[in-house]
C-alpha cells in the first residue's frame, strides 16, 4: 500500500521547470531518503505530496487521496522550516497550536520529553539557538501521532549527541511501523537512516535504489597512493586530487587502474582502494545528468 505517490508529475514555476515527469512512491513502513542539492526539485516534490502546492500535470496522492483535502493529511506529520517558527510564541504555545489540529495528539509533556524540549517550554521560539529550533521543528512533525512523516534536514546543525538522539527517535518511529521520508543534502543523515535513496537532480529522479546500490550504480572507487614521479597517462580516471605526494584517483575500475600502474612500473607506496562516500556517488550522478 502506497502512503504517498506521485505519478508522472510535472511542476513549472512560470518558465522554470522544477519537476519533469517525476514518478515516486512511498510504501507503508518505508524509510526513504530524498537526496539532492538545493533547487533540484526535492522540496517541490515534498510540497506537492503534502498538499502545499498543486502539480502542473500528473497526479499526487497522499493516503490514497488528494493531499490538498485536509482529511487526507490527518495522519501526516511535516517539519516546518526551523527559521519559520513564529518568533513571539513560546515553545509550549506552538506545540499547543499544532496539537489543536489533531483528534488525538500526543500529550504536550510526553512530546516535549521525547524530544528533550521540556526545559524550553517557556522560551519564545525567536530566542532559541539553531539546534533548539531544529529539535522543536522535528517534534512538531510528531504531534499528531502520524503514520507518515516528512522530515526536512532533521539533524542539520545539531551537535553529535543531539543528532544521535534524534536518529534513535526516528529509527524507533520506523521500527514501530511509521513511514519516514527524509529530505536532505546532508549525506551522513541519509546514510545513517534510510534504506532506500531517491536521488533528485534537475527536476528528475536520477536514481531510486538502496544506499549500497546507489553507490554501486556509479561504482566509483577512490584509489589513493603516494608517488614521487609523474604518473603515466592512465585510462578510466575521472578525477585526480593532489595532497602533496599523495594522490587520490577516482575511477570506475580500480582493478584495471592498479594493473596499469603495475604494468607501467610506477613506484608507488601506501596503496589504498576505498568505495566512495554517498556524497561522491551523488556528485557523479548529478554531473552525469548535467552532461547528458
Amino acid at each position: 500500500m502506497f502512503l504517498a505517490r506521485a505519478l508522472e508529475v510535472t511542476r513549472r514555476y512560470g518558465d522554470k521547470l522544477a519537476l519533469d515527469q517525476v514518478s515516486f512512491d512511498v510504501a507503508a513502513g518505508e524509510l526513504v531518503g530524498l537526496l539532492g542539492p538545493n533547487g533540484a526539485g526535492k522540496s517541490t516534490l515534498v510540497n506537492l505530496l503534502t498538499g502545499i502546492r498543486r502539480p502542473t500535470s500528473g497526479r499526487v496522492e497522499l493516503f490514497g487521496g488528494d493531499p490538498r483535502v485536509p482529511a487526507h493529511r490527518r495522519e501526516l506529520g511535516v517539519t516546518p522550516q526551523e527559521t519559520g517558527l513564529p518568533a513571539s510564541l513560546r515553545v509550549g504555545e506552538v506545540v499547543d497550536f499544532v496539537s489543536a489540529h489533531y483528534d488525538n495528539p500526543l500529550p504536550r509533556a510526553e512530546l516535549l520529553d521525547r524530544f528533550g524540549l521540556t526545559d524550553l517550554v517557556r522560551r519564545q521560539t525567536g530566542g532559541l539557538s539553531g539546534g533548539e529550533k531544529r529539535r522543536v521543528a522535528v517534534a512538531l512533525a510528531f504531534v499528531g501521532r502520524p503514520r507518515m512523516v516528512f522530515l526536512d534536514e532533521p539533524t542539520t546543525g545539531l551537535d553529535v549527541q543531539a543528532r544521535r538522539l534524534l536518529w534513535d527517535g526516528i529509527r524507533a518511529f520506523s521500527a514501530e511501523g511509521g513511514t519516514v521520508v527524509l529530505t536532505s543534502h546532508y549525506l551522513e543523515e541519509i546514510e545513517a537512516l534510510a534504506r532506500r535513496v531517491v536521488v533528485i537532480g534537475g527536476g528528475r529522479v536520477l536514481a531510486d535504489d538502496t544506499v549500497g546500490a546507489v553507490r554501486g550504480l556509479v561504482a566509483v572507487r577512490r584509489v589513493s597512493l603516494t608517488v614521487r614521479e609523474p604518473l603515466p597517462e592512465l585510462a578510466g580516471v575521472s578525477d585526480i586530487e593532489r595532497d602533496g605526494d599523495r594522490l587520490h584517483l577516482l575511477t570506475g575500475d580500480a582493478d584495471q587502474l592498479v594493473r596499469d600502474l603495475v604494468a607501467y612500473g610506477t613506484a608507488f607506496e601506501d596503496l589504498e582502494v576505498r568505495p566512495t562516500s554517498l556524497e561522491e556517488a551523488f556528485l557523479a550522478l548529478t554531473r552525469e545528468s548535467a552532461a547528458a
Partner: protein, 246 residues
Amino acid sequence: MASLALTHARFQLLETARIPIALFGSAFFPAAAMLAFVVPFVGSNAEYATTATASMITFSVMSTNLFQYGVGVSEDRAQPWDPYVRTLPAGAAPRFAGRILAGLCLMFVSLIPVILIAAFLTEATITATAFLITAATVVGIAIPFILMGLAIGYSMPQKAAIVVAQLLFFPLAFLGGLMTGPGMAPGIVEDIAPYLPTGGAARLMWAAVSDFPYDFGSIAALAGWTIALGWVAVWAYRRDEGRRFS
C-alpha cells in the same frame, strides 16, 4: 472546527499582544482623525457629531480591516511558517474564522478611543439600545471589509497588497460618502454611494445611531458585496500556494 477557529484567534491575538505597538498603531489613526476633523467642525452639533462619529467608525472599520487583512495576510504568506500550517489537517474555514475573530477583537479595541472622544469631547449622543444595535452593526459591516482584505492578502504579494489597499481605501471612502454627512455629498456620490460597500455600511451605521431610514436596496447591495467578496477570498485562498519559489 469552532474550537480550532478559537485556537487560531487566540494565537493571532497572542502574537499581536507580544508586540503591543501594532495595537497602538491601529488605535491611533481613527482617534487622531476624530480630534482633527470631527471635534472642531461638528463637535458642538449633537446630530452631526453623532453621524460623523458613525462615519468615522465606518472609515476606521474599513481601513483597519483592509490593512490588517490585506497587508497582514500577504505578510504572513511570505513567512515560512505559513506553508507548514497548510500541511496541518484543516482547511480554510477555521483559519478564516480565527483571523476574523481576532480581527474583530483588535478592531473593537482600536475603536475605544473614538467612542471615548465622541462621548467626552463632542455633543454626540446615543441611547443604550441604539449603542448595542450600533455595536452589532459594526460587526456586520466589518465582514465585507475583512473579506475584501483577505481577498487582497491571499491573491497578491506583500508589496502589491499594500499598494492595492491604499489605492482602494481612499476612493471607497470618498465615493461611499464617508467624508460628508448623510445627504450632503456631491450628486454623483449620493447616487452611487448606497451601492458601494462603504456607502452601504455607512448607511447602516447612520440608521443605527440616528433616525436615518434603512435603505433596503443599499442593504441588498451590501449583502451582495459580502457574498462576492467572500467568494473571491475563498477562491484566492484555494489557489494560493504561498510564495512562488521556496
